[in-house]
């Protein structure tokens, strides 16, 4: 069976798009100490509990031009490291029944003094696809 073969039969199934949802999490500027972790979360609704999903996130307001206002690829989480000020951001998306929990963790990885995170807005999109069991 060739995955590049475009012939569709009853044993080769496509990945069908069934819906999407969006949400936003705003994080106000804050200062944290060396090694400290801060967690923010929000829940966005959806009605596709058992469909496959793929999520994307986009940051606005971060100092890193490579990531600011660009969507990540489809996946469940995203990581980036900002160097000045020094902090890591991890975005994790999980399901919680009929809903989707977006959790954002800021971690100060340095041994230096306090680090101040600017105002950041995090947009998320969740896409749902139907495989054979849906």
């Amino acid at each position: 069976m060739d995955p590049n073969n475009t012939v569709i039969n009853d044993r080769v199934q496509g990945l069908g798009y069934v819906g999407n949802t969006t949400g936003t999490l705003s994080v106000a500027s804050f200062t944290f100490f060396s090694g400290e972790t801060r967690t923010f979360s929000t829940t966005i609704p959806h009605a596709h509990q058992e469909a496959l999903s793929a999520n994307q996130v986009r940051f606005s307001g971060v100092g890193n031009p490579a990531l600011n206002n660009k969507w990540s690829v489809m996946g469940g989480s995203m990581f980036f490291r900002n160097t000045s000020p020094s902090y890591d951001v991890v975005v994790v998306v999980t399901r919680t029944g009929i809903g989707q929990l977006l959790t954002v963790v800021f971690k100060n990885p340095t041994v230096a003094s306090n680090q101040t995170v600017p105002n950041i807005t995090i947009d998320i999109k969740s896409y749902y696809y139907a495989p054979s069991w849906v």
Partner: protein
């Protein structure tokens, strides 16, 4: 589907095929009959909560408290704790699959009411050990397309494992990421230097993620 361009192009490019799908209840691991590597895509349930496949990896930040991981390893779907698993596998370009070794939960025909993802570019490349790079992949579509990226051996640095890639920590807290704009996809592994060669797989779809 509202984009007339996507309708016109749907006959010109491959539709992504799900080569494998299954669900199972198990503890400590679930082996499949796959003899060829698959690109995992799916969800799983642990302690009553649904997670996206490959959300967490070994060495990742401990969030939430329940941390699970699922990956393909030596032809098997492996997960680390008790869970209800539903997973689909996508084929990798250039590999011929033996239909006798594919397991389908049920047979079904393509549902024409669904909007199927259309593969525009799919390929793979090797990132050499000890290298440090951000690789641009040009698509030139003029809009931000949907993209999926996988990488093997990034977390465990052992042969045969494949993980979804969007943002991944390694055991040392270093990360990697992928971003996409109207012209290019950037696969960055600049803050993580592998000790062995790793393979990066990517699929760029015609679907406009910003529509």
């Amino acid at each position: 589907m509202t984009d007339i361009q996507q309708v016109a192009l749907s006959d010109q490019y491959n539709i992504d095929n799900v080569m494998f799908s299954a669900s199972a209840d198990d503890t400590g691991g679930y082996g499949t009959s796959q003899t060829e590597p698959m690109l995992p895509l799916g969800i799983y349930q642990a302690d009553g909560v649904w997670y996206d496949l490959a959300n967490y990896g070994n060495g990742g930040i401990a969030l939430p408290t329940v941390k699970r991981d699922i990956y393909w390893y030596n032809g098997s779907l492996v997960f680390t704790n008790s869970a209800t698993v539903k997973v689909a596998g996508l084929g990798i370009k250039g590999i011929t699959y033996d239909p006798n070794n594919l397991y389908h939960e049920k047979n079904s025909f393509i549902e024409s009411s669904n909007s199927y993802m259309k593969v525009y570019i799919e390929d793979q490349y090797t990132r050499a050990a000890s290298s440090n790079e951000t690789r641009p992949i040009h698509h030139g579509l003029g809009y931000i397309p949907m993209v999926l990226v996988w990488i093997n051996d990034i977390l465990y640095e052992s042969a045969g494992s494949i993980h979804r890639m969007s943002g991944i920590y390694d055991a040392n807290g270093n990360g990697t990421g992928v971003v996409v704009n109207e012209q290019d996809v950037y696969i960055s592994t600049s803050t993580w230097v592998p000790t062995i060669d790793v393979t990066v797989y990517y699929k760029i779809y015609l679907e406009n993620q910003d529509a």
